[in-house]
Symmetry: C2
Subunit: 315 residues, 2 copies
């Protein structure tokens, strides 16, 4: 059993208006990375070396993190340091933050490197938001010195870039492939109907019929968005909005708060479903699937870094 000793109670719980910022209660990324290094290497000093600081700095940083969290994280001994049980748990949670930060970094770097990049990627929003950072991380692991640039836009914009030779590889979601482009399906996405767990639909026995879906006011992206287009097409142009929001995130938030059923990409709600913040409502008789495709100008099969990235996306 995890023996977690609270250390000292310094109560800095100021109930600030509007919700206190999490930044003051969570160690910064450097500290979390250091903790991961300690977990992996089993020694403060080694972790310090790896993260490029001195041993006393590491020691002090870990200690102040323990003070901040009010929990002992590592068992120090003259032969090294091991995580406490609580420390192991904290480290697992910390790893998620650091992984998110790595994805952020990979993406941000691609946004920056416009100029001299050896691989220019154009992607639709959903792909750029949810999938590309992971791919870029994988690519970096294989080819650390490949500078990538990223341009996000809709399908038409992606096609335009490719045809103007301003991008080497594109990714689009959607039913049809823009003319002038070759493509390969790299994954499947699906729009799904979700509700808050206590919504009546969350407990329905039988799957939802298309007609029922079309007849119910839904939380939707605005007209013109990719997901809305797919939905409208599937329902015959008849989706009834309960409210229209301009970002996937806003739609999710509204659904979570129980405002009503929402229709969203499976990619966007994986986390929410896993934790049951949202519940999936089965649907019958309507095809809400869509392919995710890699695209390139007809005849110009991807080569070099583009091929590398392409192969990553398919495994």
């Amino acid at each position: 059993m995890s023996s977690v000793e609270g250390q000292q109670g310094r109560n800095g719980s100021r109930a600030a208006a509007g919700g206190g910022s999490v930044a003051h209660r969570v160690p910064d990324l450097g500290a979390l990375e250091l903790l991961l290094a300690v977990a992996r290497l089993g020694s403060l000093g080694a972790a310090a070396r790896e993260t490029g600081i001195t041993q006393p700095a590491a020691s002090s940083r870990i200690r102040s993190m323990e003070r901040q969290l009010g929990v002992a994280l590592v068992d120090r001994s003259p032969r090294g340091s091991r995580l406490t049980d609580a420390g192991a748990l904290v480290t697992d949670w910390a790893r998620r933050i650091v992984e998110a930060a790595e994805a952020f970094d990979a993406g941000a770097q691609a946004l920056r490197d416009r100029r001299d990049s050896r691989l220019r990627v154009a992607a639709s929003m959903t792909i750029a938001e949810y999938l590309l950072p992971g791919w870029l991380l994988a690519l970096r692991a294989q080819r650390p010195d490949t500078a990538v640039s990223l341009l996000a836009g809709n399908s038409a914009a992606v096609a335009e870039r490719l045809l103007a030779d301003e991008a080497d590889l594109g990714f689009v979601e959607g039913v049809s492939v823009p003319t002038g482009l070759d493509s390969v399906v790299i994954a499947h996405d699906r729009l799904i109907v979700v509700t808050a767990p206590r919504h009546p639909w969350a407990r329905r026995g039988r799957p939802l019929e298309g007609a029922e879906l079309a007849a119910t006011p839904l939380i939707l992206r605005e007209k013109g968005s990719g997901t809305r287009q797919v939905l409208d097409a599937a329902l015959g142009g008849l989706a009834r909005p309960l409210i229209e929001l301009s970002s996937t995130t806003a739609v999710k938030a509204a659904a979570v708060s129980g405002a009503g059923p929402a229709v969203l990409s499976e990619l966007a709600v994986g986390e929410e479903l896993a934790v049951r913040r949202l519940v999936r409502v089965p649907v019958q008789g309507v095809s809400l699937a869509r392919d995710l495709r890699a695209v390139w100008p007809t005849g110009h099969r991807p080569v070099g870094p583009a091929r590398e990235l392409l192969s990553l996306t398919r495994g």
Copy 2:
């Protein structure tokens, strides 16, 4: 070659040589939170007020974030500020980091509040690691002033705490419910077989048979762990380890690196599957499902905060 990989196995992200730690390339949590506030409120000044700093501080912070990333994030105008296209993308990525930080905070706070907490929770590792932070966040949203304490351990330890009245509500994963406890199923988990995308099994046509699974050396958690017990039971005590590792994370990392097939909880690999870092191998004829249950001492139905939390976990 039995286990005892200790912490070494935790191979999260190798420090990229030359690149340095991600912490230096990613804005700190405060800056990301500020960016989210700007996105939401449409004004630097308003975001500053909400995050409890002055307008010049916000201005400078956003600016230095833009400098750091090399991308313009915000379109300033005398009527307010809107995100640029790149800024919207960056904000979406940033949101993931902040959400992970919020989960971290919720969990960490529960580890700390041992003493005077009004709700004492005991949970098995998998649940504590993957689900509980989300539940705690939801609980905090409903009842902001409920101090929660968390104790993580195996099923037996959870039962022990409950029976000793050292915990109000427990969560266990497993086939059987410890004696002396009432329980309710709150979710279903399943062990799944995963491989790196280029492993031969990733492209098999037909599902794997139980016998085949039992005959193949697998990357596994050490004997005695919850997942290992379920697997052994399902296969008839016959799982053959290729290597045994002491943490879910280590198993994942080994599988991703292509060392072989691994067996893991569905909960642990949601993200990896979504991004195709791992591929699920269908299995036939073996029941790898397990229930996740909330448990409490027989007769003592959860009341107050415990009931509240329980109802959250079921939706």
